[in-house]
Amino acid sequence: MLQCIFLLSDSGEVMLEKQLTGHRVDRSICAWFWEQSISQPDSFKVLPVIASPTHYLFQIVREGITFLACTQVEMPPLMGIEFLCRVADVLSDYLGGLNEDVIKDNFVIVYELLDEMIDNGFPLTTEPNILRDMIAPPNIVSKMLSVVTGNTSNVSDTLPGATSSCVPWRTTQLKHANNDVYVNLVEEMDTIINRHAPCDGVLVKCEIFGVVEVNSHLSGIPDLTLSFANPSILNDVQFHPCVRFRPWESEQILSFVPPDGLFKLMSYRVKKLKNTPIYVKPQMSSESGTCRLSVMVGIRNDPGKAVDSLAVQFQLPHGVSSANLTANHGTVDILADKTCSWSIGRIPKDKTPQMSGTLVLEEGMEQLNVKPTFQVDFKIMGVALSGLKINKLDLKNLPTPAHKGFRAQTEAGQYEVRS
């Protein structure tokens, strides 16, 4: 069982300490951890499970904040890690992002949340919707109230009905003036494209990682069924606890009683796709101490909707002393950590965006033999590139008819082009 949770700022300061059991964990473990992670930045900082001399540590890093959990006994490490992830999710949801200041400003809420989320080292309530019923998130109204009246409580004085019902993720007595439910397919495309041939890339791997997000504002206890036109393309799925397993096993239908508000109903994976919406063609040729680089970006298979927020990013390899890159569209930035990012935005109609220029190599280096990998970012609204289609959404057990809405979008996930 977890014994203690620490929140560390990006400078290694312990911002928060939550002891969970009677076996106190001394703060000095954080000092040890920070020292180690500074001395071995590449291996230590990213290792999620660390055996320190006194404790086993689980760590995750979110937006510069290190979440550290300690235990001394055997426990499933994924349990610790997954819990920390949930804590990070909930905190960032409550506080509208994570950073040092926002955590320090709202430390009371953080403690209250942690107290509800974990008891004696064992996770208690992690469902965000229920937590919201127990501890109100900070908002303008409550802040104003606290300024005016001097004291307010954000702790609810009644137990959320959900905790005692047979659907623990849903409050029992819900009333909405407008009943509506939105289903949103959010897909991320992961690809690896290799460029061995001079002309076109080889698609090594192309798959979609998608999430069915549902935003439901429905009264009572509605019973929903969602079916897909082509469920057979799904390679694998993961469900929110509200989904019933039987109907999926037999007919591949999602039958569920939804939590209130926004939640991830299901995530899925579609493998072995054949097409990518855009192409990125990097070309490099190096001779006598300089390296010519040009990158072209364009639409390969028109998805039918506009490709938005297009950006290409890559790390300048070791041995490059300076870079001079310009683009005919968009802006090129070279950051301090030798990351070069080219933000294109929307692809213009009249020309093909291209970035070109030279990389100057360090003294004594003739040519570059390492090849950077280009990470591509884009967003396409209104289309699910996996081809997954929602067949229909049935709502049962509703007092009044509800409005249904469907949306889809695709973003680039780990979309990589190797040069």
Binding site: P48, V49, F58
Partner: protein, 1064 residues
């Protein structure tokens, strides 16, 4: 006037008493609140805190409510001073039970109250917490029950032995709960408190399996593990699973009969499925069972586990329902969004599922790689083991292990290792294409790892070895080396690794890689990295006679190397020396001279080397080969030097065998922390011994808790006050009232005297000596059993005088309220007379800490007793002593003087006599009872058999004698038992109205009393259940505000009701 006078008198008496009380805390007791207590509590001096706390205690002692100081007191618990601590505990103990929040209407408040109470972690209040938990375990709110389950590990953490059984009992109740949420929390408590108490699981196994998919995710993780352990302990391993590699007949199919057939089939299937390296599989499965450390100890004697022993411990995952249900119920969990649940479920399938069905876990596991960076690493660590044992499992999914540039180095390294172990003939080309990209990765450390992985692949699949070597040689071509002069260190790593891989591949089959060796030699000049050069020189020396071309080249190379010897680095010099020796030893006649002169030249150069190690090494080698360099300088090898020669050939001549792959042979259960950190973390337990849980274990475990279960259901109904449905109270009560009262009064007559055990701990056998005599006088009496100190001088009274002591009515008036008068009978059982017998208090200076803290020192603990001047043999003399008991657990230590000798005796009070009867009628009783709900109400069950003897003697012929009602007899027995053991008032007797005269269910007796020290009322109800002529189930319920006292009383009542009546 008068008041003045009286105050003066008062002052005067105070002043006079002051003299004797100097140095005590008396002044605090007299005027506890003459100063303001709050600032004292906040003081930074321990002495002042102490004073304040003493004042508070004094106020408590005087019956005032000082609970408003609670917060200030609590914070002092952190004090360093032991005395302050102790005082704070005393205060806490007094007020902790005022936790009225537990009875609150709002379940959230109840849950918080419970969590806070459980979080206090003081030993002193653990009984309270236990009651609270027991209460909350039956709370109507799911959330509160869940919190109750979560509180159990906290209680267990206090390591109180006496609570252990009760905690396990509550766990079982909660495991039986209908709400999946509670079951999950209960599972966690089980895993923490009593993970090896598997019979508890066995009783609910099927139900737990079925409820598993509905349990909340965190509970699922734990519950899956528990169920797996149970199945293995109860039903054994599945013979279709990978664990079957432990079955001896799979790998040695020599046995005859059907078994060997199936064994043979299994082995065929094994290879079809694609298990690799049976030894590895066996090692993994053995590690799961025995834990790697233990397993490694036994590694050498392979037949530790005898075959018969093993094969009896297998079941079938296809036919055994228990295994099947577990596999079925964990299957949907593979779709969970919680990565820990997926991995735990996958672990069950990995260990228990038939081998051809394990593939079900592949997709979910691979999906986890997309969840978060941290879990990705952990999942990959587990996949790595799976892939090693069963490469075919992941063979079709190679692209999931392709590296993404955003992966951390550790993740990349793991993916590489997995890729190289799952590579097949079909996929190897694709994998190599990937590897080519990795070699150009900007992270050179990773590039070096890739090169190493290529070597591993080539070794596994010899048919691709040539391609690999070609690729690797391209890496060390002068072109690629020169171009990277900028970052030499990084490149050197790759280069060295490439050469190591090449060397490994060549070692496998040197002949077919002749060209590669030649290529290396040709590039020797271009390679500047010392380690790499040394390695090439080693290859030259090692394979100097292979093929046709190399032997011709060797002398030229050596000459070249010898010329450059002084400018080489040390490790290269070593290798040049070695290579020259090897060449010489291998050389044919025609090259012998050349080789010898080269070596001689090298030796000469080495003699004047800067490095002493090089010099020494050259000298040793020269000595070894002295036959070649003998002073005569002749080519004939002298005989007497043969031994040197043999030695040299032995050292250098032996060909290197292909090194076997280093296997990390530590395996831990999938999903465990130990598997990630590669050592057994504290608390890690391998799978239980298969089939170690036998039928008898299950049954043995069954009996008690089953009873407990039955109790629980009854308790529920009892606390819900459903009595009305069973019997009407009014009519029958009145009709039987007289009887019951007469019975009560009768028993009162017998039993007014109550018993106190005055006994010395050391001499139990003497009690038994007196037993018969004692019992004949009625069960009310107790005996004084004071031993003689068996010193050598004392020969008179070996036979211990035994005295009977009974307590008369508890008289408050006698000396001072808390005193109890005890009628003490002194009987001389020896043959000699005794003189000067009297009892005194133990020396006051040795009073224990506890009583001095009571701040009631002005109340004497023991009023002196009239001395018995002489006691003749057989004579009995009665004396009345007045004592004050502090606590039912604290025996009063007295000194028995007899013949001028001291005998320490202890007066151990029974808790039943800390009560005095409180007269009330039924209405008052039920009103009072309703005021004391929630945690002030506690119930336990026991069996009652007293009446059997009574009924049996009356109705020997099977009928109840018409004159006596069987119910009445039962009531009488029960009442006399109760009243003889506790000082209570019988309020009412309820008789069941039922056609069946034989059914005593619903018989209910109510007693009332108040606690002697603080007059808090204490209500006892005993409800019976069962048949008249069988042992009855008695449910005892106590309502009392003083929780600790009430609980102890309850336990005492249950004990004396349950103990069989001693027949005369």
């Amino acid at each position: 006037m008068f008041t003045q006078l009286s105050t003066t008198a008062d002052n005067f008496s105070k002043a006079s008493s002051m003299v004797f009380r100097i140095g005590t805390d008396a002044h605090l007791y007299d005027d506890p609140d003459d100063v303001s207590i709050s600032p004292l509590l906040d003081s930074k001096f321990d002495s002042e805190k102490c004073e304040a706390l003493k004042r508070l205690l004094a106020l408590i002692a005087q019956g005032l409510d000082v609970s408003n100081y609670f917060p200030q007191v609590v914070k002092n618990v952190a004090s360093q001073s032991l005395e302050v601590k102790k005082l704070v505990y005393l205060y806490l103990l007094h007020y902790a039970e005022r936790q009225r929040d537990l009875g609150d209407q709002n379940p959230l408040v109840r849950a918080w109250a419970l969590r806070t109470m459980a979080g206090i972690r003081l030993h002193v209040i653990s009984p309270l917490v236990l009651v609270a938990v027991r209460k909350c375990a039956r709370d109507p709110s799911v959330y509160v029950r869940k919190c109750a389950a979560n509180a159990l590990p906290k209680l267990h953490d206090l390591r109180l032995e006496e609570n252990a059984a009760a905690i396990i009992e509550i766990i079982e109740i909660l495991l039986n709960d209908n709400s999946p949420g509670v079951v999950g929390a209960a599972a966690a408590a089980f895993a923490f408190v009593c993970p090896n108490d598997l019979p508890v699981i066995g009783r609910n196994y099927k139900r737990l399996c079925e409820i598993l998919p509905d349990v909340e995710e965190w509970g699922q993780i734990i519950l899956i593990g528990i169920l797996l352990r149970y199945v293995i302990a109860r039903h054994g391993l599945a013979k279709e699973s990978i664990m079957a590699s432990l079955l001896p007949n799979i790998f040695s199919n020599e046995k005859t009969g059907s078994e060997s057939d199936t064994g043979y089939l299994e082995i065929k299937k094994t290879y079809e499925i694609g298990l690799q390296e049976p030894e590895l599989v066996a090692m993994v499965s053995r590690s799961y069972l025995a834990g790697p450390d233990k397993h490694l100890l036994h590694l050498n004697n392979s037949d530790v586990i005898s075959s018969d022993y093993i094969s009896s411990r297998f079941t079938s995952s296809k036919t055994d329902d228990n295994v099947k249900i577990l596999l079925q119920c964990t299957l949907p969990l593979l779709w969970s969004r919680n990565s820990a649940v997926v991995l735990a479920a996958a672990g069950v399938h990995w260990i228990m599922a038939p081998m051809e069905e394990i593939s079900k876990i592949v997709k979910p596991l691979l999906f986890l790689l997309r969840s978060s960076d941290a879990s990705k690493y952990v999942v990959l660590c587990n996949i790595q083991v799976f892939a090693k044992v069963m490469p075919s499992l992941f063979a079709a999914n190679i692209e999931d292990f392709f590296i993404s540039s955003s992966d951390a180095y550790q993740v990349k390294a793991l993916k590489l290792e997995i890729l190289s172990s799952i590579a097949t003939d079909a996929s190897i080309s694709v994998i190599f294409q990937e590897f080519q990209d990795y070699v150009r990765d900007p992270d050179r450390r990773f590039a070096a790892d890739t090169v190493a992985a290529i070597g591993v692949c080539a070794k596994r699949n010899p048919q691709v070895a040539n391609t690999c070597v070609e690729g690797l040689l391209a890496l060390i071509s002068p072109k690629s080396i020169n171009s990277t002069s900028g970052s030499m260190d990084d490149e050197a790593v790759v280069l060295i690794q490439a050469l190591t891989s090449i060397k490994d591949i060549i070692t496998q089959d040197p002949l077919s890689h002749e060209n590669a060796i030649i290529y290396l030699i040709r590039n020797l000049d271009a390679i500047k990295v010392p380690v790499a050069r040394a390695m090439i020189v080693w290859i030259v020396g090692e394979y100097n006679s292979i093929g046709n071309i190399i032997p011709k080249m060797v002398s030229i190379i050596l000459r070249f190397l010898a010329r450059g010897f002084p400018s080489e680095s040390i490790e290269t010099k070593y290798q040049i020396l070695n290579a020259a020796v090897k060449v010489l030893l291998n050389s044919k006649e025609e090259d012998f001279d050349t080789a010898k002169s080269i070596l001689n030249y090298v030796f000469e150069l080495a003699k004047f080397d800067f490095n002493y190690d090089v010099r020494d090494r050259a000298r040793v080698l020269r000595k070894l080969l002295s036959c070649y360099f003998s002073s005569s300088g002749l080519e004939e090898k002298p005989d007497n030097n043969e031994i040197w020669l043999l030695l040299a050939e032995h050292i250098f001549g032996e060909k290197v065998k292909p090194s076997t792959e280093m296997v990390n042979n530590r395996f831990y259960l999938p999903g465990s922390l130990s598997q990630i950190v590669f050592h057994a973390a504290p608390g890690y337990e391998p799978l239980p011994e298969p089939c170690s849980l036998t039928e008898s274990d299950m049954v043995k475990g069954l009996e008690e808790p089953a009873q407990a279960e039955a109790n629980d259901s009854d308790v529920d109904s009892g606390s819900l006050n459903e009595e009305g449905s069973y019997y009407s109270e009014d009519s029958v009560t009145t009709s039987t009232r007289t009887d019951s009262e007469s019975a009560a009064s009768e028993s009162d007559n017998n039993n007014t005297d109550s018993l106190i055990n005055l006994s010395d701990v050391g001499k139990p056998q003497e009690e038994t000596n007196d037993l018969g005599e004692l019992m004949s006088k009625g069960d009310l009496e107790s005996w004084l059993d004071d031993n003689d100190n068996p010193g050598p001088s004392q020969n008179v009274a070996e036979r211990v005088p035994s005295a009977r002591i009974s307590i008369g009515d508890i008289k408050e008036s006698a000396v001072s309220p808390p005193l109890v008068s005890v009628d003490t009978f002194f009987e001389n059982c020896s043959s000699d007379s005794m003189s000067k017998i009297f009892l005194t208090n133990e020396d006051s200076e040795s009073l224990d800490q506890g009583s001095s803290l009571e701040s009631q020192k002005d109340v004497p603990v023991f009023a002196p007793m009239e001395e018995i001047s002489i006691l003749e043999p057989g004579q009995t003399i009665k004396r009345v002593i007045h004592v004050h008991f502090h606590h039912h657990l604290l025996p009063l230590k007295l000194i028995l003087w007899c013949n001028d000798k001291k005998h320490p005796v202890k007066l151990r009070p029974d808790i039943g006599f800390f009560l005095k009867p409180l007269m009330m009628d039924l209405d008052a009783f039920s009103q009072k009872e309703s005021q004391l709900p929630g945690m002030f109400e506690y119930t336990r069950r026991c069996s009652f058999t007293d009446h059997l003897a009574e009924l049996g003697s009356d109705g020997k012929d099977g009928d109840v004698s018409p004159t006596k009602d069987s119910f009445l007899i039962i009531c009488q027995c029960l009442a006399s038992r109760m009243l003889s053991n506790a000082n209570l008032h019988l309020v009412s007797v309820n008789m069941p109205v039922d056609a069946n005269l034989n059914d005593a269910s619903g018989l209910c007796l109510r007693f009332s009393g108040e606690i002697l020290s603080n007059s808090i009322p204490c209500l006892v109800s005993v409800t019976l259940d069962g048949k008249c002529f069988e042992p009855l189930n008695a449910s005892v319920k106590i309502n009392c505000e003083e929780t600790v006292f009430g609980l102890n009383l309850l336990n005492r009542i249950v004990n004396f009701l349950a103990e069989p009546q001693l027949t005369t």
